[in-house]
């Protein structure tokens, strides 16, 4: 060959960027990691410390309040099943990780979604970023998470937030943009300010759509929490990971089924809440 096209040093560039970021920000992120990690650990330890039957009853009552007796009983049976499989501790670890990640994802994602709906320019920046976040194989996020947050739950949490946030952003923006134009016009005609329009009309009307996004975020968070076992997140994913390493098919399926049970419980609750959040949508 007379000449050769040189390889674009993409990997090297990514490393340089990451190194730079690590050098400048890892102090902050490590400190943050310590705080969040302690929080996650303390919550998990607290719940694990309580007698499982008590936790199951408390969960049941909470779910009953949020939804119906049927879903509450079904969820309690599901949790009892997981306890019976001796996966109780792992279940709680995964659950706490999912909920914490989801909370962060919502706290960051909903404002971004609102911004994206209100500003076309902002949306043009956000949209491709979202596409990338969702197409990138999820475990790639695990690698840079480690230098920032160290091995363990917080890195898992970070990767989960990045992976699970896009549906919340997308559906928040969609919900707001889908506000019927005549209602926006009515709000304008009565002299609403931009914020009044947002908080009194657009956001309340977008709630069912946003809830659908939250439901997807929780489901994605659960799937990521399982993968995050590879960097020591523990939980049900940890059980699967162990089974893979030891080639124990039975143990693997048992943990897998446990994840499915947890997923179904979370899905039913959020779907119910999504459907019934707006009072005028209730039957009758």
């Amino acid at each position: 060959m007379a000449f050769e096209i040189p390889r674009i040093p993409l990997a090297e560039w990514c490393d340089i960027a990451l190194d730079w970021a690590t050098e400048h920000f890892s102090g902050v992120t490590r400190a943050l990691s310590a705080v969040i990690g302690t929080g996650i650990e303390a919550t998990t330890d607290f719940l694990v410390g309580l007698p499982p039957w008590l936790v199951i009853i408390l969960f049941g009552l909470l779910i009953w309040r949020l939804t119906t007796a049927r879903i509450a009983i079904f969820s309690m049976l599901g949790f009892a099943f997981l306890w019976n499989l001796e996966l109780w501790r792992a279940t709680l670890q995964s659950l706490v990780l999912v909920l914490v990640s989801t909370l962060f994802a919502l706290a960051i994602g909903i404002p971004i979604g609102v911004g994206a709906a209100l500003s076309k320019r902002f949306w043009r920046v956000v949209a491709p970023a979202l596409d990338m976040m969702q197409t990138m194989p999820s475990f790639v996020y695990l690698i840079p998470a480690i230098p920032f947050f160290g091995l363990g739950a917080v890195s898992a949490c970070f990767a989960t937030i990045v992976f699970a946030m896009p549906p919340t952003i997308r559906l928040t923006a969609l919900g707001i943009l889908q506000t019927p134009p005549e209602l926006v016009e009515a709000a304008d005609a009565f002299g609403s300010s931009r914020w009044q329009k947002l908080f009194k009309v657009q956001l309340p009307l977008a709630i069912p759509t946003i809830m659908a996004g939250i439901n997807q975020t929780i489901m994605l968070a659960l799937s990521m929490v399982v993968i995050a076992a590879m960097i020591g997140a523990g939980g049900l994913g940890g059980e699967v990971w162990k089974a893979i390493q030891r080639l124990e098919a039975g143990q693997g399926f048992q943990a897998g089924i446990a994840i499915v049970v947890l997923a179904v419980i979370l899905d039913r609750i959020t779907q119910y809440v999504a459907r019934h959040m707006r009072r005028d949508r209730q039957g009758g």
Binding site: E182, A186, A189, G191, Q196, P204, R278, D280
Partner: protein, 399 residues
């Protein structure tokens, strides 16, 4: 200050849609036609030099077919659509000159708006919908609740305040829409095809109620409609629009009597003449009038000569007293007319429509009197006059 000054003055309102509005405006002002300007610049002309006044206590109907620019025109008044040029004066304020903040304040207190598809907020109860305008104004919760409940009662929705819009029929939803606008106690009420989405029967009721309400509240109402019958039912002046321009303004009767062009003539062709033409328009001078102390014989003489079906009897001040027919007169000899009177009610005010006149004629003896506010005799309408009036209108509208 001049008491008769209109509350709302729309002056030379022009709206050009599209990015080429800046280039299109001078061409339009130079007298090029809508089609020419659109061809030259690609800009679509929504409104062209629209001017009209609205007085306090009036329901002005802006009428036209779809695409005539009537809704655009309404939205330019409160600047939901930004006019390209021209001005809108409400009292002494030039709405088109307000900045964003002032416009918001102005909309909050001065304009109420009612929409074709109601545009109620589905996630709020009727009460919270009606409160909306007051809420964005920052009125205290107790006060705005009271004012909202009063408005709800005004439109006849008492007891429905805790329901959601989806639980109400279309007619009731639009009542709520009207209450939402009235709760602000605005000076100007903008109504965009407000009753067009309702069933015909409910639409008629709402039109009548709006007229009754307006008599009491004396707002300044601009009502957009595509329906001539609705415009007539609301009873006020009409601004007829076509292709973004005003073709003619006036009452429906003006349109019938003096149509500005063929378009207006065609527009009013199928109008219910009986509902538009007044008794005052159709009456003529009576040929057989007698004061009530005259004798029957005198009356019979003039009646026979005139060819009228009845003698119209008045008192000394010229006030209508009743009628007497030939049969009665023949049998009465020298009796004074006042003792023979019948049909004291065989009369209509000059402002009544021919519909009312027809009803009276049907139950009477072939002729009724047309009277003024003090029952003074203005003229008469006989069956033949009615037919003649109808025939006249027909030929005016078809040729």
């Amino acid at each position: 200050m001049n008491a008769k000054r209109p509350r709302v003055q729309v002056r030379g309102l022009t709206k050009i849609f599209g990015d080429e509005a800046g280039a299109a405006l001078p061409l339009l002002k130079a007298g090029q036609s809508r089609a020419e300007v659109q061809k030259a610049t690609g800009a679509v002309i929504g409104l062209q030099d629209v001017s009209f006044d609205v007085d306090e206590g009036e329901i002005l109907v802006v009428m036209g077919l779809s695409g005539s620019g009537k809704s655009t025109c309404l939205r330019c008044i409160n600047r939901l659509i930004e006019p390209t040029s021209g001005s809108v004066l409400v009292d002494d304020t030039d709405v088109t000159a307000l900045n964003e903040r002032e416009l918001m304040e102005f909309r909050r207190t001065r304009f109420g708006m009612v929409f074709q598809q109601f545009a109620l907020f589905p996630h709020r109860t009727i009460l919270r919908n009606v409160e909306y305008g007051l809420e964005v104004q920052g009125v205290a919760p107790d006060l705005r609740r009271d004012r909202a409940l009063t408005a709800i009662e005004t439109v006849g929705l008492k007891g429905w305040d805790q329901h959601y819009p989806s639980q109400l029929s279309g007619g009731m939803q639009q009542r709520a829409g009207l209450a939402r606008a009235l709760a602000l106690d605005p000076d100007v009420l903008l109504m965009d095809e407000a009753f067009s989405a309702l069933d015909p029967l409910i639409r008629r009721d709402m039109q009548q109620e709006l007229v009754a309400l307006q008599r009491r509240l004396k707002k300044t109402i601009v009502f957009v409609s595509h329906d001539l019958d609705e415009a007539i039912a609301l009873g006020g002046r009409i601004v007829l629009m076509k292709d973004g321009r005003v073709v003619q303004q006036g009452t429906a009767a003006d349109f019938l009597a003096n149509p500005a062009d063929d378009y207006v003539r065609r527009f009013v062709e199928h109008i219910d003449v009986l509902g538009v033409v007044t008794a005052g328009d159709a009456m003529r001078q009576p040929a057989a009038v007698k004061p009530w102390q005259s004798t029957a014989a005198e009356a019979l003489a003039i009646l026979t000569q005139s060819g009228e079906p009845v003698v119209t009897v008045v008192c000394h001040e010229g006030r209508f007293q009743g009628t007497v027919d030939a049969e009665t007169l023949k049998q009465a000899g020298d009796t004074e007319l006042r003792l023979l009177l019948s049909d004291r009610e065989a009369c209509v005010p000059g402002t009544a429509t021919l519909n009312d006149a027809v009803a009276k004629l049907a139950s009477g003896r072939g002729e009724i009197a047309v009277i003024g506010p003090d029952r003074e005799l203005k003229g008469v309408i006989a069956n033949a006059d009615l037919v003649a009036a109808l025939a006249r209108r027909r030929s005016e509208t078809t040729h």
